[in-house]
Amino acid sequence: MPKRIYLLIIGIGLLVISCCPQNTKVVLIPEPGGNVGRLTVTNETGTVEMNRAGEAIVVSDQKSAPSPPEIISAAEINADFAQVLAVEVSQPEHFVLYFKSQSTELTAESEARLPELLETISRNKSQDVSVIGHSDSTGDYQYNLALSKRRAIAVSGLLIRQGVPASIIQISSHGEKNPLVKTADNVSEPKNRRVEVVVR
């Protein structure tokens, strides 16, 4: 008899868990820089737009209208999202470093950006840094492929010398085939003589 009662209790428990309506809660929050984006929430009842920081909407199912957007407090946000906010991964950051013509030597302006790049790698605790070499279209294809590779290796060497582990750096090179500014062949274009560094 007591066994049946247990089963009954378990059964009711399962029923309560499975019957409860599903909910979707959406909260728009500012980017780290403070900018606030825009979201739409659409179901069978129509579309609601959100565009203010801290604005929240709850939708209970496809056939029910979403709750009117309402700004909620930081404490209310934390009640649901403290864990995911604590582990939130930051967005990759891109750096573009430029080179002197036909050279693996950085321009003075780009060299001056190295401390900022290193600081970003350490702040984001990055374990994945892509270093992608490019060239302009002066010279032939193979030459530029090799030059862009040497540029990528030069930048990765600078990072490694400053303490970035070689194991987290991935080097690739695109030669002249991925220009920032499209040009005809054999055109010297400072904006295309570059290495892009993506810090993930």
Binding site: T24, L39, T40, D80, Q83, Q91, P92, D128, R200
Partner: protein, 148 residues
């Protein structure tokens, strides 16, 4: 007993096969931080997620209790999952030159933080996050979602 052994053996085969199987699919991003119990499920198998592992279109990612994971997509979109969460990447295309852009994800349960990337900038209409109750259209950039 025999049944049990053969089940175990097929599971062993699946786990053994997985790195090769994963390497064949074009990757669309990497897992950044992994904590606790996190698995990736695709059409072939289920694998334990490790930091810096790659994922592809069609993959489902699931976290257990006291677990979390961050996904960085090649278009710079970042999705972080809290405990007991599950999402499926239904479609991801990032080919800005040919204007092939799409990002459709199903958020099945749990908590999510979302920071939109290039696709939302270039083709906002192509970004859809589906939950059981609604579809979110993303015009940028950072928001939280809880599905329970």
């Amino acid at each position: 007993m025999r049944m049990c052994c053969s089940l175990f053996f097929s599971f062993y085969l699946l786990v053994q096969m997985s790195p090769a199987a994963l390497a064949q699919t074009p990757f669309i991003g990497i897992f950044k931080s992994v904590s606790g119990e996190v698995v990736l499920i695709n059409s072939q198998n289920t694998v334990k997620v490790l930091p810096n592992m790659k994922f592809a279109q069609g993959d489902t990612i699931r976290t257990g209790s006291d677990s979390s994971v961050g996904l960085i997509f090649v278009d710079d979109t970042v999705i972080s999952l809290g405990s007991n969460s599950e999402m499926e990447i239904q479609s991801f295309l990032f080919n800005p030159v040919e204007k092939d852009l799409s990002f459709v994800t199903r958020l099945l349960r749990g908590t999510f933080s979302f920071i939109s990337g290039q696709i939302a900038k270039l083709a906002p209409r192509e970004v859809q996050l589906k939950t059981p109750d609604a579809t979110l259209g993303v015009r940028g950039t950072r928001f939280l979602v809880k599905v329970d």
